[in-house]
């Protein structure tokens, strides 16, 4: 202990000599010098009660860093530990499914194609069967295909009616021929 106090005194004296070069803290390039390097600037303080020299170590605050890391660990473990315990319980006591050949005449449910019990549970209670998804996509394609077909037919009908003029479309309102005043054409000398 006496040696420790001598070491601390020597380190303080050495640090005090080095203060002009390292003002912010003495921890620059700690891996080069092999000497005893205390973190931050060290200032001796009186009123020590006999065992070793009390030092007042001046360094940058680590309050925010430690607070962040503590909060991070807390919130990760808050749900992480129950999840890990649950998954460990499932893996040990329930276990994964075994691969088997499909028995004769048996159609497996869509969740029985997964191995892990949690995947099976999720597929069974939350996800739709892939057949339903397939049929939904085919229904959508069918509706869109019928729409394109109808649109093309409408365009073709419109083109033909406009061209031939014998259909119900492309009729334009013309005034009644009884309203036409032919008096200016009635004599040839007008």
């Amino acid at each position: 202990m006496a040696a420790m106090s001598l070491l601390l005194r020597a380190a303080v004296a050495w640090g005090a000599r080095r203060v002009p070069s390292g003002v912010a803290g003495g921890a620059r390039l700690p891996w080069f010098a092999g000497a005893a390097r205390l973190p931050g600037t060290v200032a001796p303080v009186r009123h020590s009660s006999g065992h070793g020299k009390r030092m007042f170590i001046i360094k940058a605050t680590s309050f925010y860093d430690t607070r962040f890391l503590n909060l991070l660990r807390f919130y990760i473990f808050l749900t992480g530990i129950p999840a890990a315990l649950f998954i460990t319980y499932v893996n040990i006591f329930i276990g994964e499914a075994e691969l088997a050949e499909i028995p004769e005449g048996y159609i497996p449910e869509y969740w029985e194609y997964y191995k892990h019990p949690i995947s099976r549970w999720i597929a069974r209670y939350f996800l739709d069967p892939p057949e339903k998804n397939y049929e939904k996509e085919m229904a959508l394609l069918d509706v869109e295909a019928k729409k394109t077909e109808l649109r093309l037919m409408e365009l073709e009908a419109r083109r033909l009616m406009r061209h031939r003029g014998d259909g119900p479309w492309y009729h334009y309102e013309t005034p009644d021929k009884n309203l036409i005043d032919n008096s200016m054409k009635s004599t040839p000398d007008n």
């Binding site: 040990i92 006591f93 329930i94 276990g95 499914a97 075994e98 691969l99 088997a100 050949e101 499909i102 497996p108 029985e112 194609y113 997964y114 191995k115 019990p117 099976r120 397939y134 996509e137 085919m138 394609l141 069918d142 869109e144 295909a145 077909e149």
Partner: protein, 175 residues
């Protein structure tokens, strides 16, 4: 978790090293290390694993590999039949995955053969090498340069071009 490789598939034949007679009275240190390993590591791990398997054997359940029905191919679909296109496309993608797995298995076989034979691999693995060459050539011919947007239609067009080239080559050869 990634699949563990199956022990039974590529089983190495048992070694045929002859039993040598002892020439010294010094005991073999390897046996000591083997007993230490079996007591310290092997026995506890085996005990725990067997306990776990006993717990899991109480309620066994199985999973299956899904078998899909074959649907008409893209070449059998009528023009404008988008539902048929969709089903043929889905089937083509499944078939492409299966073919990729087949190539992977043949590659694994070659790797296992090389590992097994060691220095004799160049002579003894010729069949596997030939098989891998054929399989990869076939895969490249069918799915080769379609690119990331390759679908059943582009593959069919590639097949059509291949058949046209073959016919041209035949016509040139027969002239």
């Amino acid at each position: 978790m990634p699949e563990d490789s199956d022990w039974e598939v590529y089983k190495v034949p048992p070694t045929r090293t002859p039993v040598s007679e002892r020439t010294t009275s010094v005991p073999n240190p390897v046996t000591f290390f083997q007993t230490v390993f079996s007591y310290v590591i092997d026995a506890p791990v085996t005990f725990v694993r067997e306990w776990i398997e006993r717990q899991q054997a109480k309620n066994k359940f199985y999973y299956y590999h899904q078998k899909f029905r074959r649907v008409p191919d893209l070449s059998e679909c009528l023009e404008g039949d988008y539902l048929c296109f969709f089903e043929a496309e889905a089937q083509w993608r499944r078939d492409r995955l299966v073919d990729q797995e087949i190539v992977e298995i043949v590659r694994e076989r070659l790797g296992a053969c090389k590992q097994r034979e060691g220095p004799n691999q160049f002579q003894n693995c010729a069949k596997e090498v030939e098989q891998l060459a054929q399989v990869t050539k076939a895969y490249q011919d069918r799915y080769g340069d379609l690119g990331v947007h390759g679908n059943a239609r582009t593959c069919l067009m590639k097949q059509k071009h291949r058949m046209m080239e073959e016919r041209k080559a035949q016509a040139n050869a027969s002239q």
